[in-house]
Symmetry: C2
Subunit: 213 residues, 2 copies
């Protein structure tokens, strides 16, 4: 059966691939699983039909037969359990890749989102300029630690995994800020991921929708 | 083999159970798995030995034989894979419980941490009072959605799972703010979890260390 995901009818980023459906599209492309997309408007996302799929009224969601899932991390984990290519077969290596999935959303993404949200929504406020250096430094702390762990390696732990996929997508939100460029090994890590054919197919698919909108 | 976790030598909360080792202790108690604890100071957490366990220099970590893990979500998922009691056996129900684990750290926790961190660290700043209503409302948006989904149910999806465990621990950080009391069904949900014998044993274990420190 072909799974159905949801995505923004019009992504706020205009097709830059920052919306979280991009993670799921990318994972599905990595494993060669075709999928359908149901596009939802901002109004429809907050209606009961969509909240039945995601109680927080967000995208992406995933439906396959009787299963309805939300949270990009959980959806990707589910896909990885059904197809080879996103998580290692060895139990310990698999557990470590899952740790990177959680690290992406729980340790690295929050300060990045706080920084991005302050930049987008609070910049007209009197306090914005005063707070930004603190928010930037919180991001750099994480990037320094991540860069130190990555070292000269291609991916975070052995072969490319769902942990890398999620971490790269989290880091991409920093692109317009120039902050990633201060950590050259991480910028190269993101570039390596963006060169993957599966990434390119997923990016093109969401771009086609949003650039046309 | 008995696994070893790490925890703060002195938790900043003085034993209120808000440090993330509490989640792992609770999960281990739910499944009846004894464990050892290595206590680490703030200085030791940032040294190479601990960064080898967690590249971000945080607690908790988990070691069992040759496996070294970080991220409370990943550790609890690993424990749930080795013992019954934290995730359902049915594949779809298991995927949904994992979605709640990700929702806890990725959707509900970030606005709570942003609120708590502003309260703790930015209150002397000129902008603090002006920003707080916005931060509180971001938390309430999530709590309203979560409360609507929980409805009259005891737990988020069927029996108690690792998704409830993580969600409850995320919500507990709101206790001193009084915000949880505005969502009575969530306050009752947290209270139900806190009444679990496994929760009480885990709480007592971390309290004994931190109240004595």
């Amino acid at each position: 059966m072909t799974p159905t995901i949801t995505a923004f009818e019009r992504s706020p980023d205009g097709g830059k691939g920052l919306a979280r459906d991009m993670r799921v599209r990318w994972a599905l492309e990595e494993v060669g699983q075709p999928y359908e997309v149901r596009y939802v408007s901002f109004a429809a996302m907050k209606q009961p039909a969509h909240r039945g799929r995601n109680p927080f009224g967000q995208i992406p969601t995933y439906e396959d037969g009787g299963l309805v899932l939300f949270e990009s991390g959980a959806i990707i984990f589910h896909i990885a359990g059904r197809h080879a290519g996103l998580l290692p077969a060895d139990a310990d290596a698999r557990a470590r890749a899952i740790a990177w999935m959680f690290a992406a959303v729980s340790t690295v993404e929050p300060p990045i989102l706080e920084f991005a949200s302050a930049w987008l929504f609070e910049s007209p406020q009197s306090w914005a300029a005063e707070r930004m250096p603190m928010l930037e430094e919180r991001v750099h702390v994480r990037l320094r630690d991540l860069s130190a762990r990555l070292g000269e390696a291609e991916w975070l732990d052995g072969n490319f995994s769902a942990g890398d996929l999620m971490m790269v997508h989290v880091l991409q939100r920093l692109a317009p800020s120039g902050m990633l460029a201060k950590h050259p090994s991480l910028a190269a890590y993101v570039a390596r991921a963006e060169a993957r054919p599966a990434y390119r197919r997923a990016f093109a698919a969401q771009y086609a929708v949003n650039a046309a909108a």
